[in-house]
Structure formats: C-alpha cells, structure tokens
C-alpha cells in the first residue's frame, strides 16, 4: 500500500520535472533585442502554421547572445543585429557554415524624450550644453552601440559624446532611458523608436556609410537542424517578412 503511494508520488514528481524540460521538437531562437516584438509575433504565427512546433525565444544584445552560445547554450537559430557578431559566430564555428542569410535592414536614429524642448537638429548638437547624458549601447557587446560609435567617429564627434555616454546593455534599455527622461538623447533603431511614438521623438536619422543588415543562421550545435531550417525559411518567407515590415523593418 505504502509503496503504491510512493510510486504514484514519484511518477507525479517525474511528470512535473519533465514538463520543465524542452522536448526534442522544441526550438530555441536567440534574437537581437530589437527583434523582440516582431519575433514574438512570427513565433506565434509559426506555431499556428505548424501544429506541435514550440518556439522558445531568447532576446538580448547580439554580443551577449554570442557569448551564451560560445559557452555552450543550446540554441538552434541565431539572429544578430549586425554582420560583425555573426562573423565572429562563424569564425568560432558556432553557426552552420553556408546557412547565413540577411533577412532585414534597419536604420539608426537619434531620439529625445517627447516632452523635452527640441535641441537636436544636427548630429553636432550633441555637443550642446543642454545635452548632458546620451544613452548608447555598450559598443563592446551591443551592435547599436557599434553603429553609433562608427557614425560618431566618422563625424569626429565620438570624444565629445563619449564623455556624456550612459552605456546600456541593449537597445531597448536605451529606448527606456529616453522614454523615462533619464537621459537627454539616445541612439536606437528606427523600429524601436516607432514602438514608443508617444514618449520619444526622432530628432534625426543618423547617416551611416555601412548598411544595418540583420543576418540569421542555424547553429552548428543544433540537435534539430531540419526544424531550425524550417524556422529560418519561415522568417524569410512572405509570411515572416510581412510581420517584420509591419514593425518597420525594411527588406534586405
């Protein structure tokens, strides 16, 4: 009698424990923070189109996502906000060779809190004394910070702005700081600014001599290559692209 109870208890424990694990059919997608809203919708549509498919999404700065994979995180698909991070992933053998595709483009904008007095009309205005703090993604791990640094160096303004820089962990943190008025300006993608139209104002689109294009690839460590390729195919398909377009991303 007692062993019966014990057996049932153990079965129950095992069941509960098992539901916490990811099954073989599950897909883990690591994507740049700027893709958060679009990829949530794409994953939903994907699961609706392929019953039984489960997509787990993991968002963060592309550089941070790369480090997770380099340390052995079980990821099936990686979508980065810049080519440099994907280059590093390829060089370290983390993504499957020859499977990398560019799937969207974006642009870099300089934003101010919506309720602030407009100060910035040109990039040089970042030197204005009224601009005390500028949110910039940490160039060491955040692509939007790298693009920002590149643009400001080209404009010979990096040293001016670096002294006012508040380093952030990803582009959405920059957006949040500007929206809360904690900083006077910030660099984000056009798609991020569009999500908070009532709280941030786009002062200008930052001129860049390189394209902001996002690559996506299946990982070398994926235990589920076919499913991973099917997801990448879905992102590239008209169904995936129309969602991305809705959030303001441009065709590659």
């Amino acid at each position: 009698m007692q062993s019966m109870v014990l057996k049932r208890l153990l079965t129950a424990v095992a069941l509960v424990a098992a539901t916490g694990l990811t099954f073989a059919g599950d897909l883990t997608v690591s994507a740049a923070a700027s893709l958060t809203n679009a990829f949530k919708e794409i994953a939903q549509n994907y699961e609706a189109q392929y019953p039984g498919a489960k997509v787990a999404l993991n968002f963060g700065a592309s550089g941070a996502l790369l480090q997770q994979m380099a340390k052995g995180a079980p990821v099936d698909v990686f979508a980065s906000a810049d080519q440099e991070t994907m280059d590093l992933a390829e060089k370290q053998g983390l993504v499957a060779a020859g499977e990398r595709r560019d799937f969207v483009r974006n642009s870099l904008v300089l934003i101010e809190p919506a309720d602030s007095k407009p100060v910035i009309t040109r990039l040089e205005d970042l030197g204005h004394p009224a601009i005390k703090r500028v949110a910039i993604g940490n160039p060491a791990s955040v692509p939007v910070g790298r693009y920002t640094k590149h643009a400001l160096e080209a404009a010979k303004l990096w040293s001016v702005v670096e002294a006012k820089a508040i380093n952030t962990q990803n582009v959405r943190q920059s957006l949040d700081y500007v929206a809360r008025g904690e900083v006077d300006a910030g660099f984000v993608y056009a798609t991020d600014a569009a999500l908070m139209k009532e709280k941030v104002r786009v002062a200008l689109e930052v001129p860049l001599d390189i394209a902001i294009s996002y690559p996506i690839a299946t990982t070398a460590a994926s235990s589920n290559g076919d499913e991973a390729r099917r997801f990448v195919g879905f992102v590239l398909s008209p169904a995936g692209q129309s969602v991305l377009k809705k959030y303001g991303f441009r065709q590659p």
């Binding site: 550089g63 941070a64 791990s141 952030t168 962990q169």
Partner: protein
C-alpha cells in the same frame, strides 16, 4: 588592469558609504524597534526587512521610479538643487544601502533585545543619564551582534548588482562597480578581463571574511 583597480576602488567606496549609513540608521532603527511599543511595529519591521527577500530588480525599479527625473522627489532635487541621483555613484550608494539595511537592523534589534534590562536599571540608579546608559551600557553589550551584521552588510553591499545596474548604470570609472564590470566583460567575451576581476573580487571577499573573524572573535569564527 587600471580599469579593474578603478572598479575595485569604486566598489569599496560605495560599500564603505553604504555600511556607514547602515551602521547609523540600522542601530537607531534596531534600538527603536527593540525598545519602543507602538502600533504598526510589526508591519514596520516587515517593510524594513523586505529588501532582503525582494529581487534586486524590483528594488531597482522602485528606486528608478521614485528618484528618476520624472518623479516628484527626483524633479524636486533636480530643479531645486541641481542634484541628480540616477547614473551617479551616490545612486549606487543608495541602492547598496537599502539592499544591505536588513542585515544590520535585524541583528541590531535582536542584540538590543538580548541586553539584560537589570544592568541598565542599575546604571540608572547610579544616576547615569539615558544617553550615557545607551553608549556606556547598552551599546557595548549589544556590540558584537551588531558588528557581525555590519560586516555582512559590507560584503552584501560590495556584491550588489541588480539594483545598482538599474539605478546607477554602468559608466566605467564612475558607476561601474566590480560586479558590474565582471558582467560587462563576460557579455563582451573578454574572458581575460573577467578572470582578473573575478580573482580580485574573490580575494577581497576572503579578506573581508577573515577580518570579520578577527574583529568578532568567538562570534563568527567559532560558529
């Protein structure tokens, strides 16, 4: 390497201030809660203990909302005095103080409650003033328990991460403490920098614990 030392000295500065603040406030509040009877005492104790169990991100969010430029406290400080707390090392001190506060006032309250009232009574009979009784009788008797808490609070403040990152950000040389510098280095894949910082942090922690053992013999070392 310079960056590592800058992070270390900043961490020590922040933890030092947080500990000093907690020593004064924690002892005062611990004493008040041990000796005074007033309605809502248990509720106050619970509220003050909250930082020990709440996620640091929740505290960080509270602080951001309470002290940010859009809040009335933040706006008052900024418009009236030009003081800004967010993204400053003082902001990091506030975050670390709040997180470590329960570690001081809880043991302080317990230590004051354990002091034998007859000894204070005897001092009173001998004509010593109430202030004199506190500093010459009560505090010396409760001191060991308080010190143990203070050292733990210092260690906790030194390791503060979540609330600090949200309130003070991560500005190298200004608000980038050791624990935040470790996080940034790992995020950026700079394993050599991370290794240096982790070794420094571990060494500092060992020194703090050894000092704790020395300062309060019998209390911590023999436990």
């Amino acid at each position: 390497m310079d960056a590592a030392w800058a992070a270390l000295s900043l961490s020590l500065k922040v933890a030092g201030w947080a500990t000093t603040i907690n020593l004064i406030l924690g002892v005062a509040v611990g004493y008040a809660l041990a000796r005074l009877r007033f309605p809502g005492r248990d509720l106050l104790d619970t509220l003050l203990t909250l930082p020990m169990v709440m996620p640091p991100t929740v505290l960080g969010y509270y602080l951001l909302v309470l002290m940010g430029r859009r809040s009335w406290i933040g706006a008052w400080l900024y418009d009236g005095f030009g003081i800004n707390i967010i993204f400053t090392w003082q902001g990091a001190v506030i975050a670390a103080s709040i997180v470590a506060f329960p570690l001081v006032f809880k043991p302080a309250r317990a230590a004051f409650e354990a002091v034998d009232g007859q000894l204070e009574q005897a001092a009173r009979v001998l004509g010593i003033s109430e202030l004199g009784i506190f500093f010459r009788v009560t505090l010396p008797l409760a001191w060991r328990g308080i010190l143990a808490g203070v050292l733990l609070a210092f260690a906790r403040a030194l390791g503060e991460f979540g609330a600090t990152l949200m309130v003070a950000g991560s500005i190298p040389g200004k608000t980038q403490t050791l624990s935040i510098a470790v996080y940034e280095a790992v995020q950026a894949g700079q394993d050599d920098v991370a290794n240096t910082l982790v070794l420094i942090t571990s060494a500092v922690c060992v020194v703090v614990l050894m000092a704790a053992g020395r300062l309060a013999p019998g209390r911590i070392a023999n436990r």
